[in-house]
C-alpha cells in the first residue's frame, strides 16, 4: 500500500512540480502571482486537442504545436496584460491574472464548447508490475517527462546566456535596465516558458482524465506547492510539487480524501509562521 501511494504520489507530484515551476519562473521574473496558472495548464490540453484532433498532426508535431502555442500565448499575455500594468501593487497584479483566467475560460468554451473532450495521445498506457506494486506507464511517463523538463530548465537557467540574463533581471529590475538587458524580452520569455511548462503538465493531466476546463482546479494545487517550496526557489517549486502530490495520496489513502485540503493547507499555514520564506526559499532581508 505505502509504496503504491508513494509511487503515484510522486508521479502526480511531478506534474504539480512542473506546473509550479512554471509558476515560479513567472513569479521570479515579473513578480506576478499567477492565479491563472491552472488555466494556462488547461490551455495546454486544448492546444493538444486542436493539434491532434482538429489538425490531425502526428504526435511529434502535436508536441511542437503545443509548445509553440503556449509560448505565443505566454508572450501575448505578458505584452497585453502584465506589461501595461507594470509594477503595480500586489492586488491588481493578482486580479489581472484572475481576469485572465475568466477570459481564457470563456474563449475555450466558445471555441471547444463546454463539454469535456476525450483525447488519446500515443503515450504508453500499460502497467509495470514490480512485485506487489503496479505502476501505470502513463504515470511513469509523466514523471520522467516532468523531470526532463525540469532538468532542461535548470540547465537553461544556470548555464545559458538567456538564463543568466533572466536571473540577473529577477535579482534587480533597475540594475538590469541599467546594464542594458532588454527586460521586456526577458520577462516575455519567462512568461513563455512558464506557460509552456504549465501546458506540458496540462497535456499529462488530460491524459489521466478528460480535457475539460475543470482541470483548472487541479492546476491550482500548484499554488500551495510553490509556497511550501518557497516562491523564489526553482528546486523548491519542484520539491513542493512532489510534497503536495505525496500528501494528497497519503492523506486520501490513509485518512480521507476530504482531509487532503487540510493536510496541505495546515502545514502551509505552519510553514508561513515558522519559515515564511518557504522550506527552500531564502530569507529576504528587510526591516520590521
Amino acid at each position: 500500500m505505502l509504496s503504491q501511494f508513494i509511487f503515484s504520489g510522486l508521479a502526480l507530484g511531478s506534474i504539480y512540480g512542473l506546473v509550479a515551476l512554471g509558476f515560479t519562473v513567472i513569479y521570479k521574473a515579473t513578480q506576478v502571482f499567477n492565479f491563472a496558472q491552472g488555466m494556462l495548464m488547461v490551455c495546454g490540453a486544448y492546444f493538444a486537442v486542436t493539434a491532434s484532433i482538429h489538425l490531425g498532426l502526428p504526435f511529434p508535431l502535436t508536441i511542437a504545436f503545443i509548445l509553440v502555442g503556449a509560448g505565443i500565448l505566454g508572450i501575448a499575455i505578458y505584452f497585453l496584460l502584465i506589461k501595461p500594468l507594470g509594477g503595480q501593487a500586489l492586488l491588481p497584479m493578482i486580479m489581472i491574472t484572475i481576469a485572465l483566467s475568466i477570459i481564457l475560460r470563456a474563449v475555450i468554451e466558445l471555441i471547444y464548447g463546454g463539454a469535456p473532450l476525450t483525447l488519446r495521445l500515443p503515450l504508453p498506457s500499460g502497467v509495470f508490475v514490480l512485485g506487489d506494486v503496479r505502476i501505470s506507464q502513463l504515470h511513469v511517463t509523466a514523471a520522467v517527462v516532468s523531470w526532463l523538463c525540469m532538468l532542461l530548465f535548470i540547465v537553461f537557467f544556470r548555464r545559458s546566456r538567456a538564463g543568466l540574463l533572466m536571473r540577473a533581471t529577477a535579482d534587480g529590475y533597475e540594475a538590469a535596465v541599467l546594464s542594458g538587458i532588454r527586460v521586456d524580452r526577458i520577462n516575455a520569455a519567462a512568461w513563455a516558458i512558464g506557460t509552456m511548462l504549465a501546458a506540458i503538465g496540462g497535456v499529462f493531466l488530460c491524459q489521466l482524465q478528460l480535457v475539460s476546463v475543470e482541470l483548472e482546479n487541479i492546476g491550482l494545487l500548484a499554488l500551495p506547492a510553490v509556497v511550501i517550496g518557497g516562491l523564489q526557489s526553482v528546486p523548491g517549486a519542484i520539491l513542493g510539487g512532489l510534497l503536495v502530490g505525496l500528501i494528497e495520496q497519503l492523506a486520501s489513502g490513509y485518512i480521507s480524501p476530504k482531509a487532503r485540503d487540510i493536510f496541505i493547507y495546515v502545514p502551509l499555514l505552519l510553514i508561513l509562521f515558522i519559515r515564511p520564506w518557504g522550506l527552500f526559499g531564502q530569507k529576504e532581508l528587510g526591516r520590521v
Binding site: 492586488l91 493578482i94 481576469a99 477570459i103 463546454g114 485540503d261 487540510i262 502551509l268 526591516r287
Partner: protein, 369 residues
C-alpha cells in the same frame, strides 16, 4: 487662530451646492430608495407598466442580494483597501457567519437578531485568529495564509453541515423579529437597506477618527506609523476583527435570505468575486465597495438581458451569440476587469470622484488611494 485651516474648511463648504439643492438631492435619493422596491416588485413606475429590459433585467431579489454583498465588499475594502491587508479568504467569514447563525439558532434557540449579533462576534474573534499571520508575514505570503484559512474554514463548515444538518445544506431558521416574519422581497429590502447603510457608515466613520486614521497611516507607511506610536500589530488584529465582523454579518444575512446554505457555496471563486468588486469599484474607499458591488452583481444581468434582446442580425452569427450567451458575458466581463485594472487603476469610484467632489464640494465618501 488658524486662518489657513479655517479657510480650507470654509472653501470646502463654499464649493458645495446651495443648501436647498442639497436638501432636494438627499430627498430625491431617499425617495428613489424608498420607491425602488415597489417599482421592481410591481414592474411599473407611477402606474406605467415597464418591460423587463426597461428595468434592465433587474429584480428585487438581485437588489437584496446586492445589499448584502455591499456589506461584504465594503468590509473587504476596509481590510484590503484601507488597512492594506490583502485577503483572499473573505468567503471564509461569510461561511462562518452563516454557520454561527444556524448553530446559535438551532442549538441555543437564539432569536433571529441575536444570531446576527452572535455571527458578528464570532466573526470578530475569528478575524483575530485569521489576522495572526499578519504579525509574522506580509505581502504575498500573507495573501497565501488567508487562502489557507479559507480552505480550513470551508472544511470545518462541511464537517459541521454533515454532522448536524441535511446533506443538502445548513438550514437556518426563519427571519423573525418577535412575531413579525421577514418573508417577502419588500420586507427584506426595508430590513437590509438600513443595515447596509449603517454598516457602511460605521466603517466610514472610523476613518475620520483617531484609530481609523491610524489604519490608513499604517497602510501607507508601517514604519512611520510605528514611529508615531501606533502599535501596528494590535491595530492589524483590530482591523481584522472589525472587518470580519461585518463579513460574518453579511454571511449570516445571506444565509437567512437563502434559508439554506451549503459548504460548496463558499468556494474560492466566491472570495475572488469580492476582490474583483473592490478593484472594479475602487480600492480604499467606502464608495468603491458600494459601486463595485452594484456593478459586479447587476451588470451581468443587464448584459444577459441585452444579449437576449439581440435576436435579429446576421443569422448564423446571431444564433452563435445566442447559444453562447454565458461565455460571451464572461468574456466581456473578464475584459472589463482587465481594462479597468489597466486604464482606471482607482476603479470606478476613482473615476467618478472628481465629478462628485465638484458637484457637492465636500468629501462625503472620503477619497483615498
Amino acid at each position: 487662530m488658524s486662518n489657513g485651516v479655517t479657510a480650507y474648511l470654509v472653501r470646502l463648504r463654499h464649493n458645495a451646492l446651495p443648501t436647498t439643492l442639497r436638501v432636494i438631492g438627499v430627498a430625491v435619493l431617499l425617495a428613489i430608495l424608498l420607491y425602488l422596491p415597489y417599482v421592481l416588485q410591481f414592474r411599473s413606475i407611477f402606474g406605467v407598466r415597464l418591460s423587463n429590459m426597461q428595468l434592465l433585467n433587474i429584480g428585487l431579489s438581485q437588489v437584496n442580494l446586492t445589499l448584502i454583498s455591499i456589506i461584504g465588499a465594503v468590509s473587504l475594502n476596509y481590510l484590503t483597501g484601507c488597512a492594506g491587508l490583502v485577503s483572499v479568504g473573505h468567503a471564509a467569514f461569510f461561511a462562518l457567519g452563516s454557520m454561527v447563525a444556524a448553530a446559535t439558532g438551532m442549538h441555543l434557540k437564539l432569536p433571529f437578531l441575536a444570531t446576527l449579533v452572535a455571527a458578528m462576534l464570532a466573526g470578530a474573534m475569528a478575524g483575530v485568529v485569521a489576522g495572526l499571520p499578519s504579525l509574522r508575514v506580509r505581502g504575498l505570503y500573507f495573501v497565501l495564509s488567508t487562502l489557507a484559512i479559507h480552505f480550513i474554514v470551508v472544511f470545518v463548515f462541511a464537517e459541521y453541515q454533515y454532522a448536524f444538518h441535511d446533506v443538502t445544506g445548513v438550514a437556518v431558521g426563519d427571519a423573525k423579529i418577535g412575531s413579525f416574519e421577514i418573508d417577502s422581497g419588500i420586507k427584506w429590502y426595508f430590513f437590509l437597506l438600513p443595515i447596509t447603510v449603517l454598516s457602511c457608515l460605521l466603517m466610514r466613520n472610523t476613518l475620520f477618527h483617531r484609530e481609523g486614521r491610524a489604519v490608513l497611516a499604517m497602510r501607507d507607511n508601517e514604519l512611520a506609523a510605528a514611529a508615531a506610536g501606533i502599535d501596528v500589530r494590535i491595530l492589524k488584529l483590530k482591523v481584522f476583527a472589525f472587518s470580519s465582523a461585518f463579513a460574518s454579518l453579511a454571511g449570516a444575512l445571506q444565509a437567512y435570505y437563502l434559508s439554506n446554505v451549503a459548504a460548496e457555496m463558499y468556494s474560492l471563486n466566491f472570495a475572488i468575486q469580492f476582490i474583483a468588486i473592490i478593484i472594479v469599484g475602487g480600492m480604499g474607499t467606502i464608495g468603491g465597495g458600494v459601486i463595485g458591488a452594484i456593478v459586479w452583481l447587476l451588470l451581468p444581468s443587464i448584459l444577459m438581458g441585452a444579449a437576449t434582446e439581440v435576436k435579429s442580425g446576421p443569422g448564423d452569427f446571431a444564433s452563435f451569440l445566442l447559444a453562447h450567451r454565458p461565455q460571451i458575458v464572461n468574456l466581456i466581463f473578464g475584459s472589463i476587469v482587465a481594462l479597468i485594472l489597466i486604464f482606471a487603476p482607482h476603479g470606478i469610484a476613482g473615476f467618478l470622484r472628481p465629478l462628485w467632489q465638484r458637484m457637492i464640494g465636500g468629501l462625503p465618501w472620503r477619497g483615498r488611494t
